[in-house]
């Protein structure tokens, strides 16, 4: 039973999963589980993934900045 709100959340999660630092098996686990999760849990997962990707982007940009200045 996947409502339209969950559908959108699942789509976002599927796009974010490859960007996360998690390994392939964990990605597979979430991909299988996602359709069964509640809106609340999907939202938490999506938020965690977004924050992780943002955090990693910041680190990456900082490193690039340092490289340019040195």
């Amino acid at each position: 039973m996947t409502n339209s709100k969950n559908q959108k959340l699942i789509e976002s999660i599927l796009k974010l999963l490859p960007l996360s630092s998690m390994d392939d098996n964990e990605q597979a686990t979430w991909t299988i589980l996602a359709p069964s999760l509640s809106t609340d849990d999907l939202t938490k997962l999506k938020t965690a993934l977004e924050e992780e990707v943002e955090g990693m982007t910041d680190i990456y940009l900082n490193v690039l900045k340092k490289q340019k200045t040195t």
Partner: protein
Amino acid sequence: MPGALDIFKGGFDLLSSVGKSSPSASGEKGIAGQILDLVNPLSKDGKETAELREKFRNIRTGVFGEAIKTLLLSKAPSLAAGLDIGMAATGNMTAEVVPWQHEFEIISSLLLLPLPEGFKHMLTDIFANSEAFQTVIANFPLLDDEIKQGVKDREPNAVIKALRFIHQLVIVDGKVGFDAIKGLFSGNPADLLKIGAVGGGLLAGKKLLDSSSEKSNSGGGIMNTLKETFSGAGAEKGKKLSDLIKSSADSRETTMQGNLIKLLKELNVFESAELVKGKWANNNDEVTIAFVYNQKKYFLIFDDDVTKTDLTIKAENGTQLADFSDWGNFDTRDTADKIRQALK
């Protein structure tokens, strides 16, 4: 929910590692993971990236624990009951959302153990025999069909599982909003809260024992609250007839109930009609329906008996305006015409 996290951490690790045949040097992949591997040597000895990975891995483990618990509860309530017993035994209980949360969860999980059926029936029949409870269960979102059927068949374990399910999703997690189920109680969410709260109290053994003495003293208490909630007296009062009919979609109407609906529609008062006395779901019962016609309030008394059906229309002050003894012999349209004449 730290307790649940601890329990599920092992499972999550296991699931994540299944089929892990050729782990990469870092044990992680993904585009971002690869970028992190590239920038690692350049960023504070890799400490920053390692911390980030660890932080979000822990968050995901937390989400996994919560999600699995909800899934277990919906798909395998007996396993979830075992989890409650396990958490109580290890002292890993979380903070209570409501004061009786742990009491309810532990006692109800213990009740799912193979206890004598008679003992369980004593506890669960109060719910199983209630039409209000049956209606909620029959229409409750996310509830497994097997449990629904079990409640219909008055199986004690199914009733306990259903109560645990409602308790978890409505009271504890708030995953099922009142909006989704308010129609079952004609829009009064307080009634559903009573099921969760009273159910919690009932299944908590101590309160049940307390209630035995209260029952004999007739001094109120949980048994009286239960009776009031589930006996039907007051459960449907003041509720729109159209809502009551929608909520009891599974049960068939009698022919005369169907005729009454037609009559109310014919008079264009069906949507505003409210049940003020009696129970709609019961056949062979007397019900009083209030309706507004030409901006005036009237009462329709519908006395449905096995042998005949009487219909009476009264004004707000109690004056009888129309009487259709043995209404089964009347045509609905004719009756509506006669009522219109009487209400002029």
